[in-house]
C-alpha cells in the first residue's frame, strides 16, 4: 500500500511538472510571442526585436523553460509587465485573500453538503429527498454570477445586511473579514453544494444497496448501527474523492466570485493580467491554481487508498 501511495505522490509531482510545461508552452510556443503580445498594434519590426532581446526571447524555448521553472520553484516569477513590481509582491497578499475565501467556503460547504446528502440517502424516496433532488437539479448548473448578483440584490441592496463589495485590506480584522466576505462565501457554497450533496447521496445509496448491508439488516441490527458501522466506513472513500474534486472546482469558481464582489484575490489578479497580457503574472497565477487543483486531486486519491480495506490489509 505504501508503494501505491508513493506511486500516486510521484504521479502527482510528475503531473505538476507537466502542467508547468503546459503553462509555459501555452504562453511561449503558440503563434504570437510575448513581445507581440505586449506591443500589440504598436509593434514595429525594430521595437519587437528590441523587446525580444530585452526579455531574452531569442534563447531556445527549453532553456527559457528551465530558467523560468527553476526560479518558480523558489518563488521568483520575475517582474510584472504592467506594474513592473515583483510578481511575488503582487501575488502574496492576494493569495492569502483567496485562500481565506476558499477555506471559509469549504468549512461551511463540506459539512453542510455531506450532512444534507446523508440525510437525503437515509430518507431516500421521501418528501425531503425528492425536494432536495429537484432543488439540486435546478441549482447544479446555475452560474456563479447569477447567484452572486441575486444575493447582492436582495441581501445588500434591498436589505442592506451585507456589503456588495468585499473590499478587504491586509489590516482588516478577522471578524469584519468574515462579515465582509459573507456573500462571496455564500455564493461559492451555494454553487458547490448541489453537486457535492448529490454525489454524497449517490455514493451512500450505492453502498446501502449492496448485499452486505442487506445482510446487516438480516442480522437484526438497528438502522443507525447499519449506517454508522457497516455503510459509513465503506462510503468514506467515495465521499472523500467527491469532496476533493468539488473543492478543486471551488478553486476555479473563486475566480468568477472574486470578480462579482470585486474581492482582491488571486483570481481577479489573474483576470486583469490576462486582459493586460501580463504574461509573467498569468503564468505565476496559473501555476498556483494548477498546483492547488493537482494537490487536491492527489489528496483525494491518497485518502481513498488509505480508506480501502482491500489495500490496507493485503492478502
Amino acid at each position: 500500500m505504501l508503494r501505491l501511495i508513493g506511486q500516486r505522490l510521484g504521479l502527482g509531482l510528475l503531473t505538476l511538472v507537466a502542467a508547468s510545461v503546459l503553462i509555459f508552452a501555452g504562453t511561449e510556443v503558440l503563434p504570437g510571442d510575448l513581445a507581440s503580445a505586449i506591443l500589440q498594434n504598436t509593434a514595429t519590426p525594430e521595437s519587437l526585436a528590441e523587446l525580444r532581446q530585452e526579455l531574452g526571447l531569442n534563447r531556445p524555448a527549453a532553456v527559457r523553460y528551465f530558467d523560468w521553472a527553476s526560479h518558480a520553484v523558489v518563488g521568483e516569477f520575475g517582474r510584472s509587465l504592467a506594474s513592473h513590481r515583483e510578481v511575488v509582491v503582487e501575488i502574496a497578499p492576494r493569495l492569502r485573500n483567496t485562500l481565506f475565501l476558499a477555506s471559509y467556503a469549504a468549512i461551511v460547504a463540506v459539512p453542510l453538503a455531506v450532512g444534507l446528502g446523508l440525510m437525503a440517502a437515509i430518507w431516500q424516496g421521501g418528501v425531503y429527498d425528492r425536494a432536495v433532488n429537484f432543488a439540486t437539479l435546478l441549482t447544479i448548473s446555475v452560474p456563479e454570477y447569477l447567484v452572486g448578483y441575486i444575493l447582492i440584490k436582495y441581501f445588500s441592496v434591498r436589505l442592506g445586511w451585507f456589503p456588495s463589495l468585499a473590499n478587504v485590506t491586509p489590516d482588516t480584522p478577522l471578524l469584519s473579514r468574515i462579515w465582509l466576505t459573507f456573500l462571496p462565501m455564500l455564493t461559492l457554497v451555494l454553487v458547490v453544494i448541489a453537486h457535492m450533496m448529490r454525489m454524497t447521496r449517490a455514493s451512500v445509496l450505492q453502498i446501502m444497496s449492496s448485499p452486505y448491508i442487506e445482510m446487516a439488516f438480516l442480522k437484526g441490527l438497528p438502522k443507525w448501527r447499519v449506517v454508522i458501522r457497516h455503510a459509513f466506513p465503506n462510503a468514506v472513500a467515495p465521499i472523500i474523492s467527491v469532496v476533493a474534486l468539488d473543492l478543486a472546482y471551488l478553486i476555479v469558481g473563486v475566480v468568477v466570485v472574486e470578480v462579482v464582489f470585486v474581492y482582491p484575490g488571486l483570481g481577479q489578479l489573474m483576470v486583469d493580467a490576462v486582459s493586460k497580457h501580463d504574461v509573467p503574472v498569468v503564468q505565476a497565477c496559473g501555476l498556483i491554481f494548477a498546483a492547488a487543483f493537482i494537490l487536491l486531486n492527489m489528496a483525494a486519491d491518497v485518502l481513498a487508498i488509505l480508506s480501502n480495506p482491500r489495500l490496507r490489509h493485503p492478502r
Binding site: L218, K219, H230, P309, R310
Partner: protein, 554 residues
Amino acid sequence: MNGRRMGEEVLEVAGLRVVARGVGTVLVDDVGFALRRGEVVGLIGESGAGKSTVGLAILGYTRPGCAIEGGRILFQGRDIRAMTPPERRALRGASIAYIAQSAAASFNPAMTLFEQISEIPVRHRLMTPAAAKVEAIRLFSELELPDPERFGDRYPHQVSGGQLQRAMAAMAMAAKPDILVFDEPTTALDVTTQVEVLAAFRNLIREHGTAAVYITHDLAVVAQIADHIMVLRHGRTVEHGTADQILREPREPYTRHLVAERLAPHRYRADIVGGEPPLLELQDVVASYHTLPRVIDGVTLDVRRGDTVAVVGESGSGKSTLARVITGLLPREAGAIRFRGETLPPRLRERSRDQLRRVQMIYQMPDVALNSCQTLYEIIGRPVRFYFGRPRAQVRARVRELLALMDLPADFIDRTPPELSGGQKQRVGIARALAAEPDLIICDEVTSALDQLVGEEILGLLRRLQDELGVAYLFITHDLGTVKRIANKVAVMLKGRLVAAGDTARVFAPPLHPYTELLLASVPEMRRDWLDEALVGRQRTVAAVRNAQIELAQ
C-alpha cells in the same frame, strides 16, 4: 438440547403473498408450509419462482419496493407480521438466521470476520464479546476452517470462496438460532468445493438440531439435505411433499419434468466411425495472456465430423481460453491447429473467409451475444449475405427457414432481442451460427445461464440439429451431467492441461484419472444417500489430485 423438544413446530407459513409495489407484480402467492425442530424444508424452483422472496419473508424482510401483503408467518406461535420493528429485529440473527448466496458480497469488506460474526450474539446481548469469540473459534473448527484461532482476524477478501461460505454459516450459527435460512449457498462455488461445503452445512444442522429452510434450483443438492421439498413456480406452490415422495413419485407434471430430466439415462453417442481425417486437430497447443503463466499448456485434441467433444473443467482451468485459441482471438504461442487437414493461421486476421465460416460459436450469455439494436433478420441474415452473397429476398427466405428450424415463429424476423426470452435468444444465437453452414460449432457454456428446463430444450435442439446436419460440436462446460448425456468424447482440463481425453465411456470408466474421479464424485446425484457415499474415500482422491498436479507442474 437446551430443553428444546425435537419435533416441536417452530415455524408455520400460511397463505403468504408478496407483491412488488408500484408495478403491482405478485412475486409470491398463497405459499405455505410448516417447519419442525430438526427438520429441513427444501424450496426448489427456477429463477423468478419466488424462492428467495419466501426465504427473506421468514425473517419478516422484503427487498426494497416489495411488501408482504397477506398470510401468516408464525414463529413459535407468534406472527412475525404483527410484531413491532424492534421485536422483529430481536428475532433476526438471534432466532432466525440467513445464509446468502454470495458470501463474498455479503460480508462487509471493511470489517474482520470476527467483528462480523460476533456482532449477532453481542448486539443481541446474548454473549459477552469474549464468549462470542470463543464460540466463533469453536464453530470455525467444527466447520473445518484452517487455523481456527486466527481465522477470524482476517478480512473477507483474504480467504477463499469455499471458506467464506463456511464462515457465513458460522456467522449464522453464532447465536444458536432456531431456524437457518440457506439461500442458494453453494451455487457460486465450483463443483468440487460444493460437496465439502454441503457436507459441512448438513453436519451443522444435524449436530445442533436446528430447523432449516434450504433454497436452491438444484434438485440433486436439496435431495441430500431436505426432509421435505416444496416446488415453486411463478411464485406459487406446485407440489409439496416428503423428499422421498418428490424424488420417487412426483405427482405434478412440472415436478415430474424436473426429476425426469435429471434422471434421464446416459445416452453416450455411438462412436463416430473413423477413416476420414479429423475435422479439427490440436497438437501441443500452448497459449497465454502475455506474461502470466501458460493458460493452455500442451493440449492435443481431435474432433471428427459428427462428434460432440466436451471440454470439462472448473473455473480457471483454461477451457474457455481454448475456444479463443481455436477461433484465433488469442493467437497460440506454440503447437499446431489443423482444420480439414490444413493448418489454421494462429491469428484471426490471417484466416480466409472460408476458414472463418466453417467454425462458428455460440455463447453463454445470449444477452451480450446479440446486438440489441438489430432485428433478427439483420442478426441471422448477415452471415448469409456475408459468406454467400445472396440477394436480399433469398436472405430473407433463408432466415425464415432457420427460424423455423429453431422452432421460432416466422414473424419474429423483424423483432429485436430485448423482445425475446432467454431461451429464444439462445435459439437466435444458434440460428446465427448455422446461417454460416459451419462444420464445427463451439458451444461455450451455452446452457449455464438458462433455467434447467430451458437448458434441456436447447440441448435437445442441438442434438436434433446434429442428427439432421451432421455438424460437429466442441462443447465447453463445467457440468458433468450435460457431458454424460450429450458428448461422445470428453477432454478433462486442469490448470491448462488435459488430464484425460477420449471416448466418454472410456474416460468415465475405471481406471479413472484422480481428477476425473474427483469431478465425477462431486456431481450431486438425485439419491438421498449420495452425499454420504461421495464423502467416503474423498480424502484419498483429493490427495491423489494434489499429487497429480505436482507431477504436471514438473
